[in-house]
Structures are given as C-alpha cells and as structure tokens.
C-alpha cells in the first residue's frame, strides 16, 4: 500500500480559501458509462446504472470539480508547461514525495476553484489541483490527506460510491491525520477555539468534503458523521498517534522502522 511517512507540519502562510477535498469517480456518470473503457470495473458500471434516474439531482460523485478527469485528448507538453501550473505542481510534488513513485498514482490537473485535491478510487490516483496549490506547505498537506484515502482504499474494502459511512470515515481520518486541523491552520482560517477544537474542525471539514461530492442534505451528512466519528477518530493507522508536530511524525516513523523488533518481542 501507498503509505506516507513524510509528515511535515510546516507553518502555513497564506492558506488558500478552498480547502475542501473531493473524491471523483472516473467514468462520467451518465454519458460515458456505456463507453468502452479499460478501467471500468464492474462495480462502477453497476453503480452508475443504479444511480441514474433515482436521485433528485444527477449524482456525479464530484467529477464536475475535476474536469480534466474526463478529457482524453492529447495535450502538448510545451503548452501545458507554458500555460498551466503543471510544472510547478510536479516540482512541489517531487519535494513532498521524495521517495515515492509518483508516475502512476499522482496527477497534476486543473480543477474547480473550491478543491485542492482528490482521490480517484476507480484509477487509484491522487489528483492534485495545480491551479489551486501554490505553496509547498499546502502541497504537503494535500498529499498527506489524499494518501490517507489511498491507504484506506488499499487496506480496506471501502465502498466509496455507495456507502456514506465509509466515505465519512475516510474523510474524518484524513482531516484528523493530515494536519488539516492543526491549530495554526485553524488560526489562519480565523476559526476560534482551543479546547477540543481539533475534533470540531475534523467534523466540519469532513462534512464540507462530503458536501462537495455528494448530493446529500447537510442533516444527513451530520447524522452519518456522528454515527462513525468515535470509531474513525480513534483509527490512526498507519500512525500510532495523531501526528501534530514534526517530532510526532519522526517518532511515528521511528516506530515504523522498528516494527519488526516491536512485534517480535510482544
């Protein structure tokens, strides 16, 4: 599984306003469901057919926020590097992921203004919004957040599209463990609160992320989040703690490196 241990907690300066995370479904829900596609899994096709005609609004699972996910046209590399932020995005990603293979599982793309990144479960790809991530610290945080989703996708049978509880759980974990809700970040968002504020922030951000990609009422989202919060907030995998600081991250990584000795002697 893709697991990130480069958890950096640099002070964020000038955090951008859009911080919602969105998960996208690869196939266009309505029009391309019937197109032949190498990566149309049986589940995703069944899901799209099931969903059509039953929702009040057409459920696109957030794909509208990631328009480049639908485009299959060849783009000139020169044009891409001259007229988009792709190169910058890739460079920042390189710094964030010094030891990971980014060629297959990451993609820098232009997205809707409200999102910074997403995880596409159909292709097992992390999407990074090159037009919305302009600072290394922001990139670091987005990468960690999406890697939590990727990690959950890899280690558990997560039903991203049909089970709101699963989606909520992963969003709670990603907000909890990525530094999204660090005191500094909340301060820059001018969100007041100290005692147990971290949990309030996690709930709020999970709700916001889910709201971006699902046509579900706020009330229902709150109910689902309440239902799974206690369990998912306690699930810190792959860490043994919530990494609040560089030292936390360093110690968690140290424990990972020593895991063989640890379990052998228990």
């Amino acid at each position: 599984p893709l697991v990130a241990y480069h958890v950096t907690q640099k002070t964020v300066v000038g955090v951008t306003s859009f911080t919602a995370r969105a998960r996208a479904r690869h196939a266009m829900a309505q029009s391309s469901a019937k197109e032949e596609n190498d990566h149309q899994t049986k589940e995703s096709m069944a899901g799209s057919e099931k969903k059509t005609g039953t929702e009040r609004y057409s459920e696109d699972y957030g794909y509208r926020l990631f328009p480049e996910r639908k485009e299959y046209k060849y783009k000139s590399l020169i044009a891409e590097s001259l007229f988009t932020f792709r190169h910058k995005c890739q460079l920042m990603l390189t710094f964030a992921m010094e030891r990971m293979d980014k060629n297959r599982h990451f993609s820098c793309e232009d997205c809707d203004s409200i999102v910074s990144g997403g995880f596409d479960a159909t292709t097992s790809q992390i999407v990074l919004c090159q037009n919305n991530i302009h600072q290394q610290s922001h990139m670091n945080r987005v990468v960690i957040h999406e890697l939590i989703h990727a990690f959950d996708h890899c280690r558990a049978r997560v039903d991203w599209f049909n089970n709101l509880r699963h989606l909520a759980c992963s969003e709670i974990r990603a907000a909890n463990l990525s530094g999204d809700c660090s005191f500094i970040n909340e301060m820059f968002r001018v969100n007041s609160g100290f005692k147990k504020h971290h949990q309030e922030c996690v709930r709020w951000r999970a709700r916001r992320s889910m709201d971006a990609v699902r046509n579900v009422s706020q009330k229902e989202l709150d109910l689902v989040i309440d239902e799974v919060f206690d369990s998912c907030f306690k699930d810190h995998a792959p860490f043994d703690r919530i990494p609040h600081s560089k030292k936390d991250a360093k110690f968690a990584y140290r424990d990972f490196q020593n895991r063989d000795r640890y379990y052998a002697n228990l």
Binding site: H39, E68, Q90, R104, L266
Partner: protein
Amino acid sequence: MTPHQRSGISMAGSNLQWRPPRSCDVYWSEFKHCRSWKHWFHEYYTYGRAPECQHWKQDYQSCKEWESTRSVLAKESLLESERKRIADQRNFTPVWELRQKPPEDWDLPLNQGKPQDP
C-alpha cells in the same frame, strides 16, 4: 561486556533471546516528548485534557532494570504496558472490512492518451 551489549547476543533459552520491544532510549525520548509543553498543547487542543506520561517513564525504568538484572517482573511489566498501549489504539469497531491484499486494479496501467501524469 556490559548488560547492554549482552542483550544483543542470541543465546539458548527463550528468556535471553527476548529483548524489550523498543530500546530503552526510545522510552525515555517518548517520556520527554510527552512532557513537553508542545505536546501538552496538542493534547489539550485535541482531547481537552492534559497528557498522561508516567507510563513512558515506568517503561523506561522497566527496560533499564531488565537490561541490568534480567528481571522477569520487569519484562512482564513492560509487556503488559505495551499490550495495553496496543489495545487502546485498537479500541474501536472498524467501519469497514479490512483486506488481505490490495485491490487488483491498484497498479494497472492507466489509459493511453490521458493528460500527462507527473
């Protein structure tokens, strides 16, 4: 040889092959980290309470005691503490079913002609 050096050598007898799950300096560094003001701040921000750190110090003392005397009590105390730590970390009902291996399409090649990936 010092007790510290001796602990790394594998010898006959299960008691001598065992060693603490973490090296003693790790327990000490966890204790110091737990007691730092930064950690207190994060604990209060997250859970609304001060952190409990005594168990790290206790584990450090057990670890050092085992190194010098090979005390069975020290070993048991350490094992009990670590197992409790793991039990606390797992004290929740998972929302989903865990996999035995990653999804089969995890590493399949992407479509040709997709926008350039990093």
